[in-house]
Subunit: 107 residues, 2 copies
């Protein structure tokens, strides 16, 4: 079980989607990410930078043929932070009356 730790960086709606999305896969493509969260190029680029600066995501710039392709994935730190944030949310909800949160998700 993960130690709860509310993380403001992860909590923000777009970054929560982003991080959750990344938590579900390995490397994700810039365009896929952009479309999945519905952001402009610039907005995604900035959020990715923010997350990378925090050490939560790793950014890989590779070439597919001759064209650049940027992908990102969660780092171990990012995954931990995400898990802890989720725990924090669960704790909040549990205190709230616990009616809603099923505890199936931890592995």
């Amino acid at each position: 079980m993960t130690t709860p730790r509310f993380d403001e960086l992860i909590h923000a709606p777009t970054r929560l989607s982003l991080v959750a999305f990344l938590a579900a896969t390995t490397w994700a493509d810039f365009t896929v990410l952009r479309d999945s969260v519905g952001l402009s190029d610039s907005a995604l680029s900035k959020q990715l930078t923010t997350l990378a600066d925090a050490g939560y995501v790793e950014i890989r710039k590779a070439f597919v043929g001759k064209r650049p392709r940027t992908s990102a994935r969660l780092t171990a730190d990012g995954r931990t932070a995400f898990d802890r944030h989720v725990s924090a949310l669960q704790e909040i909800v549990a205190r709230a009356g616990g009616s809603v949160i099923p505890t199936e998700s931890q592995a």
Copy 2:
């Protein structure tokens, strides 16, 4: 089961705490609320107004003896919105937890 609906109003950290706290009790006192979320009087007053304007909380101004006392509680709408927001979070997390944790070491 509640229909998921991400609610930006509720999602913001302080309001999430506030709403979750209120979801756990009936009427809560202004001072108790203020101390539980660690806000200044003005900040709490404003958040409470915001939540009341949204129809999520009901504010009661009563007198205890001769002194005014403000309390708040969730309305049915507030509770529904909270439940739905929690469901939305759950959904996000569920998607993220959907796949087994992959490779943790690489460089």
